[in-house]
């Protein structure tokens, strides 16, 4: 059976609120692709991502994972399929990095069990994949913002999911760390993961993604390949300011520059 993660006619309203954050969203991620969600602050990119991750239940419509309703799946079954990398927030306790990453094994262990040697090994391998195995014994309050983002990614990969959903993984990172994170995402894509990223950087969509969905006013305005969707016209529509989209010849890249007049 083809694996699939699909939102059908999805609407979401936070409890107690009078406004829909999302309404009538239809989106499908194809196996093995990287889908980027773009849109201004507060349009519901994160909300959509959390609905797709099964962390929020849609008010109407549904999210189906392999033809199963995500909201009625057991949390541990869901977590074996979908890894979620939250917007980084600090841990209140200075757990060691390896102990944070090993938390990714929770869905594979029964409630009374602590992780064993095999889980330790998986955690260590995962740290190697994202390239921070030298930080394993470091308390997590003593790593930089970029390293912490990689720790969170490692924790999600330790779940051994098929889907990886990342909520603004490159926000508040410096240029070097932004590229480090994108490199890891690219690597994971090559390993066969299906990836959805919510981001504020159209440039990054050009670098890593196969498909882009632009969200504004509760709905997906445009979707398609990065070059189809990230155009000067669409960027103007979504962000409300004129943006130049410039294609460089060497290196072969496309970048977006907001106009300043």
């Amino acid at each position: 059976m083809m694996e699939s993660l699909t939102a059908t006619n999805l609407s979401f309203r936070y409890p107690g609120s009078f406004y829909d954050v999302l309404s009538g969203i239809n989106v499908t991620v194809k196996t093995g692709e990287v889908l980027t969600l773009l849109g201004p602050n507060g349009t519901g990119k994160s909300t959509l991502l959390k609905c797709l991750a099964g962390l929020l239940s849609p008010s109407t419509g549904m999210v189906m994972l392999n033809r199963q309703d995500l909201t009625i799946m057991k949390p541990y079954d869901r977590a074996k399929m979908i890894g979620f990398v939250p917007q980084s927030q600090v841990s209140p306790f200075p757990y060691l990095v390896k102990d944070i990453v090993i938390m990714g094994r929770a869905s594979h262990l029964s409630i009374m069990k602590s992780p064993g040697l095999e889980d330790e090994k998986i955690a260590h391998d995962t740290l190697k994949i994202v390239g921070i195995d030298h930080l394993a014994m470091r308390p997590c309050n003593q790593v930089s913002g970029g390293e912490w983002q990689l720790v969170l990614i490692a924790r999600a990969i330790a779940q051994k999911p098929k889907y990886l959903l990342l909520d603004e993984p490159t926000s508040h990172l410096d240029l070097g760390n932004q590229m480090k994170v994108l490199r890891v995402i690219d690597l994971l894509k090559k390993e066969g993961l299906t990836i959805i990223i919510a981001t504020h950087f159209p440039d990054h969509a050009f670098i890593v993604s196969d498909r882009v969905a632009m969200i504004r006013d509760c709905i997906i305005q445009k979707s398609g390949t990065p070059h189809e969707v990230i155009t000067e016209e669409n960027l103007h529509l979504v962000y409300g300011i004129p943006v130049d989209v410039i294609t460089l010849s060497s290196p072969d890249r496309t970048i977006c520059i907001p106009q300043w007049t």
Partner: protein, 349 residues
């Protein structure tokens, strides 16, 4: 070992590399403090006699001691020591579990109002009745009612957000504290009011063998349950959303933690009144020793809590001719001890 590595290790706890050794030492200290507490008192009783008395029902050795000594051990000191071990370890592990659940190293088991509720239950029963059993049952039940009320207020949309729990815990706690004050205000100042005040200050004095038979298993089983799910406390301390994303049924874990800690605390208050400070400080001492990982922290916290309360109780009943309320001593000894530890260890969390 490079400077960097040494730095790493130090920040994860002074004994993070030698946890098995530390556990063995702490178990030895727990047994040692229990035996010491059985020896010391108005009568000095040597350890050999103590063991013979305790093991007498099993081994049937020849009686070389007076009936008075046997009564002192079996009816007075032994229940007290066992109560100290149970309540000390129980309150300490509750504190550690709640600090993980509420993602805040400053909370203890009082946060959801169980102690205030149990205190009120005792106060109102003292006014209305003379019977110890009535007072204890009332205390236990009101402890559970208080937390039930907190949980009910905090529950919105089939979820109980941590912030809502803390807020409603403060509300319910204040309500029951106010009602306890009313009880004190209206109580007969000659006999009832002092009884209420002494109860609220806490003492292992009224722990009987019967209490231990009834409430001991409750505390013991809840401690075991918390120890079994201790790794999940790491997960839930990352926050509801993170824990959910990792595949944890957060509402289940919350209910298990709240139920076990409430039972432990209510049983403790029922047995020996309000003993504060342990749930707050002992987990911190544990963190200084083994770091924040609850897989190691919880077992260590259980042992330190037991040692601490048994020692403090020994002091409470031997320092002066009249007994000092233990609630006062846990703070009076715990606070400076804690201050010294913070200064010496210089570990930030």
């Amino acid at each position: 070992m490079s400077i960097d590595e040494r730095h790493d290790r130090k920040s994860s706890g002074l004994f993070a590399d030698n946890i098995p050794v530390l556990i063995v030492v702490l178990i030895a200290l727990t047994i040692g403090s229990a035996v010491l507490s059985l020896m010391i008192g108005r009568y000095w009783i040597d350890p050999g006699t103590i063991f013979s008395i305790i093991l007498h029902p099993i081994i049937h050795s020849e009686k070389t001691w007076t009936p008075t000594v046997e009564t002192v051990i079996m009816d007075v000191r032994l229940p007290r020591v066992i109560a100290g071990l149970l309540v000390g370890s129980g309150l300490a592990i509750c504190g550690a579990a709640y600090q993980g659940l509420f993602r805040n190293p400053l909370v203890s088991s009082e946060i959801l109002g169980v102690s205030s509720g149990a205190g009120f239950g005792a106060a109102i029963a003292i006014i209305l009745s003379e019977l110890m059993l009535v007072i204890q049952v009332s205390s236990f039940i009101f402890g559970l009612i208080a937390v039930g009320l907190t949980y009910w207020i905090a529950r919105v949309n089939r979820q109980t957000p941590i912030l809502m729990l803390i807020l409603s815990g403060i509300v319910v706690g204040s309500l029951f504290t106010a009602m306890t004050s009313i009880c004190k205000y209206v109580a007969d100042p000659m006999n009832k009011m002092p009884t209420i005040i002494f109860w609220l200050l806490g003492s292992l004095n009224h722990a009987t063998g019967y209490d231990i038979l009834v409430l001991g298993p409750v505390i013991f089983i809840c401690i075991i349950l918390l120890l079994l799910i201790r790794w999940r406390i790491n997960l839930i301390s990352m926050g509801d959303e993170d824990a959910k994303a990792l595949g944890v049924n957060t509402e289940h874990i919350k209910i298990i933690i709240i139920l076990t800690t409430t039972l432990i605390t209510a049983a403790s208050v029922t047995m020996c009144g309000l003993v504060g400070w342990i749930g707050l400080v002992i987990p911190h001492i544990g963190r200084i020793l083994v770091g924040p990982d609850n897989r190691h922290l919880l077992p260590v916290t259980v042992l330190i809590g037991a040692i601490f309360l048994v020692m403090v109780d020994t002091i409470a009943r031997t320092l002066t001719s009249a007994e000092i309320p233990i609630g006062l001593l846990t703070a009076a000894i715990g606070a400076p001890l804690f201050a010294i530890l913070i200064r010496v260890s210089r570990i930030g969390w």
